[in-house]
């Protein structure tokens, strides 16, 4: 008898926004400490969690901080005493707490954060852009994007499972596109408590747990005598995380059904594809429709939806994208002044592909900034340029902007 037959897996199907789905998952993860500070579009998560507590459905400490900096410090400290902790933010809120975010990683503590992606002010914009979360990409964080409300819910469990693993212990940023995903209402399957318990073991910080009976020093002044070795430990943890992620999805699939055949990214119509687009988050929606339309016209195109950004799935993506002639990277972010003035994702993808003897031609599209939508027509154009690039017709400017008034 498989595990799936022994316990009831799904409790109910419920209409939930992306934010609400995350909140229900936080509840099911039996979180101990929640620190909150409002900023759109994350705010609905804290609203929902406070309601779950008020309704007596969740027993957790709920602390409203005076700012994001304190909010993140609170969960970091809670995590150090062995509490499963949760916080979240968006855009500039994320930046305001940056110092606390960095030390959570260097202290090797594993709380989970929801980032409702939002453009960085100024000027004011509520819409999605990925620079907020991506600013942490080199700091020792786990970072992954959900592209549906269901995925967001499930990745709270997967996120804690990976982050808290003895061999990882890194903070986890679960990101989702502001408005397009955080505020979209879907029928979401909510699992039972028992099935989540089966998947997600209790958080155990072991010897490192800060407690009066177990005095430990966290973050002392160590200077040049220790820092390098500690950084190396971070580095190793990020390397190990790839294996743990794989294992976590195997366990997840065993309990909840084969939901993810590849943990790191999902491929859409890529079999026999000549050129593909790759992107992160909600842009998967118009690109998939565009892909279908291109296929109807006989064009061999596909889409790769990247889920895990840290650790970056180097081997898997190298193997996947190495099959194609043209790769068009869509960045909902910017990296001003970087090589070719391309987007962050493009640099990662290009660097990942560089060691291949035969590389696809990589071009880059920057679009959807500040919450502007990326239309199906734009995606079709991106497919056309990527197909052309794959056939050797590489534009002089490798990076182009889409959806810009120009």
């Amino acid at each position: 008898m498989t595990v799936a037959e022994q316990v009831r897996i799904w409790d109910r199907e419920e209409l939930l926004t992306g934010c609400q789905a995350v909140s229900h998952a936080v509840k099911l993860s039996d979180v101990d400490v929640i620190a909150a500070y409002p900023i759109r579009p994350y705010t609905e998560v804290m609203d929902m969690l406070s309601k779950l507590i008020a309704d007596g459905k969740l027993d957790a400490e709920y602390i409203i901080a005076d700012s994001e900096h304190s909010q993140f410090e609170i969960v970091k400290h809670a995590s150090s005493v062995g509490a499963r902790a949760f916080a979240g933010s968006s855009g500039t809120g994320w930046m305001y707490g940056f110092e606390a975010l960095v030390v959570t990683a260097t202290d090797r503590l594993p709380p989970l954060f929801l980032v409702g992606n939002r453009a960085l002010d100024d000027p004011g914009a509520f819409g999605v852009e990925h620079n907020d979360a991506m600013s942490l990409r080199d700091m020792g964080w786990l970072m992954c994007w959900a592209s549906t409300a269901q995925e967001a819910l499930e990745h709270v469990f997967i996120g804690y499972r990976v982050a808290e693993d003895k061999t990882v212990r890194m903070p986890m940023a679960l990101a989702m596109d502001g408005a397009f995903l955080t505020h979209s209402q879907h029928m979401v399957k909510v699992p039972t408590e028992e099935s989540v318990k089966r998947f997600l073991p209790p958080f155990d910080l072991g010897e490192r747990r800060l407690h009066p009976d177990n005095p430990v020093s966290i973050a002392p002044q160590v200077n040049e005598d220790w820092v390098m070795e500690l950084r190396r430990q971070n580095w190793e943890a990020a390397r190990r995380a790839r294996g743990v992620i794989k294992q976590a999805y195997e366990e997840f699939n065993a309990i909840f059904g084969m939901r993810y055949d590849n943990p790191y990214f999902s491929e859409f119509m890529t079999d026999d594809a000549e050129a593909v687009l790759i992107g992160i988050g909600a842009v998967a929606m118009p690109t998939r429709t565009a892909c279908r339309r291109m296929r109807e016209q006989g064009h061999k195109v596909g889409y790769v939806n990247l889920r895990w950004f840290r650790p970056f799935p180097t081997d898997e993506l190298r193997e996947c994208l190495g099959r194609f002639k043209g790769v068009g990277v869509i960045d909902r972010d910017f990296a001003h002044g970087s090589p070719d003035n391309g987007g962050i994702l493009m640099h990662e993808v290009r660097s990942c592909l560089y060691p291949l003897r035969e590389r696809p031609n990589v071009i880059n599209f920057i679009g959807g900034l500040g919450g502007r939508d990326i239309s199906i027509e734009e995606c079709i154009k991106m497919y056309e340029s990527t197909l052309a690039a794959g056939r050797g017709d590489v534009p002089e400017e490798l990076v182009s902007w889409t959806g810009l008034r120009e």
């Binding site: 199907e13 209409l15 759109r40 579009p41 705010t43 609905e44 100024d122 000027p123 509520f126 549906t148 596109d177 502001g178 408005a179 397009f180 955080t182 505020h183 979209s184 209402q185 879907h186 029928m187 909600a282 842009v283 998967a284 929606m285 118009p286 998939r288 429709t289 279908r292 919450g371 502007r372 939508d373 990326i374 239309s375 810009l404 008034r405 120009e406």
Partner: protein, 383 residues
């Protein structure tokens, strides 16, 4: 096949109503074996005051969830609506949801043979006279009722939600069917009154459904702004032309942001009897949107293009019957009332009293506790 429904609602006063109707459609369609999801035009912002906003629901009988999402998700607006449900008829004068969008026709997205479904007490022609011409026919269905306006984030729960669901089923059964609406409400609430409200609205809406022919309506008077290209404005992050502020008392004071007038936020406008004014400055000082322009004769003209209809001026004015809030659909334009008064003082009084009518409506501070309607008095012109 995809059915696209938009719910046009008034900012914070109907936020929950809009969201609930969107969500209900998803749940009812799901019970019917259809695939559906819902999202909002502006997520939870910037729904200030009565600013016109939108929720969407997408329903398909044959696509997978993945396909429906791929077609309809991650978009700010739709190209064409099968049903555009408008939960307050004063939006028929136009909707300006956000800066730089301009004032747009309420029927802008109604597709060919689509349906504009409006909660209203007005007749067909009385609504069409405010709405833009379209070059194809569409249906205008009316659901008899008042706009259900509640306070910040609150839902009045006055059966508008249930009635709207019944009406949507009447105008497009491919979105949701009335039996499924009834079953859903019965199961969810166990309250037969709610089920009956939906059914009655369904029956009534079937009867109040008329075609608006191509070319019927007005030539749209508002320009839709064309925004500059990236290289056509100054660098430095200040992309919005700055608005000079002026706070001196007259003459003809304030400057305003031309890019966002937000006058379509209002359901009522203040009508001022200039002859009764004692020049106390309170309306001018208290108006949150700086709508009053001091005049040379020390009166305060109202700029209806920017007035959001918040009632504040009517509340602070110390003179009885001097400022009274009047239903916005009584007015054709945003012309200066003070100029009218200057040109023809007696005629203006007569016009103003005609608009005011005899009923004075007082809204309670606590939502849902009912409105107070009293008889107004017609104060004779002051010498």
């Amino acid at each position: 096949m995809i059915k696209r429904v938009e719910v046009q609602y008034r900012g914070i006063f109907q936020k929950n109503l809009g969201k609930y109707i969107g969500g209900d459609i998803v749940m009812i369609a799901s019970r019917m074996g259809r695939v559906a999801f819902s999202n909002g035009r502006y997520s939870d912002a910037p729904e200030r005051n009565g600013i016109p906003c939108k929720y969407f629901a997408f329903v398909s009988p044959d696509l997978s969830e993945e396909e429906l999402e791929a077609e309809c998700g991650a978009k700010l607006d739709i190209d064409a609506a099968d049903v555009s449900l408008v939960v307050d008829d004063t939006m028929s004068k136009g909707v300006e949801p956000w800066g730089w969008h301009g004032i747009r026709p309420v029927n802008e997205k109604v597709g060919h043979k689509g349906c504009l479904l409006m909660v209203t007490r007005r007749e067909h022609d009385d609504l069409v006279r405010f709405m833009a011409k379209k070059d194809y026919p569409y249906r205008l269905a009316r659901l008899e009722g008042d706009a259900s306006l509640a306070g910040l984030w609150v839902d009045k729960d006055d059966l508008t939600r249930e009635r709207c669901l019944g009406a949507v089923a009447a105008v497009d059964p491919d979105v949701i069917g009335i039996e499924a609406v009834e079953e859903y409400l019965r199961e969810k609430t166990g309250d037969e009154n709610r089920v009956r409200a939906a059914r009655e609205a369904y029956d009534a809406t079937l009867r109040k459904n008329k075609v608006v022919s191509a070319g019927e309506g007005i030539d749209w008077p508002h320009e839709i702004p064309v925004l500059p290209k990236w290289h056509e404005f100054d660098e430095g992050g200040v992309v919005v032309p700055a608005v000079e502020r002026g706070f001196q008392l007259g003459p003809r004071g304030q400057n305003r942001n031309e890019g966002f007038k937000h006058g379509t936020s209002k359901t009522e406008r203040p009508v001022v009897r200039f002859d009764l004014c004692i020049k106390c400055t309170l309306c001018w000082a208290d108006c949150p949107d700086e709508c009053f322009d001091p005049t040379d004769d020390e009166l305060y003209d109202v700029n209806y293009e920017v007035c959001t209809g918040c009632h504040k001026c009517a509340e602070v004015c110390p003179v009885k019957e001097c400022i009274v809030m009047v239903d916005e659909l009584q007015f054709e334009n945003t012309d200066s009332p003070w100029e009218h008064h200057k040109k023809d003082p007696a005629g203006y009084i007569q016009w103003a009293e005609g608009k005011k009518g005899t009923k004075r409506i007082r809204y309670p501070h606590v939502t849902g506790t009912g409105v107070e309607i009293s008889e107004g008095t017609t104060v004779p012109p002051k010498a």
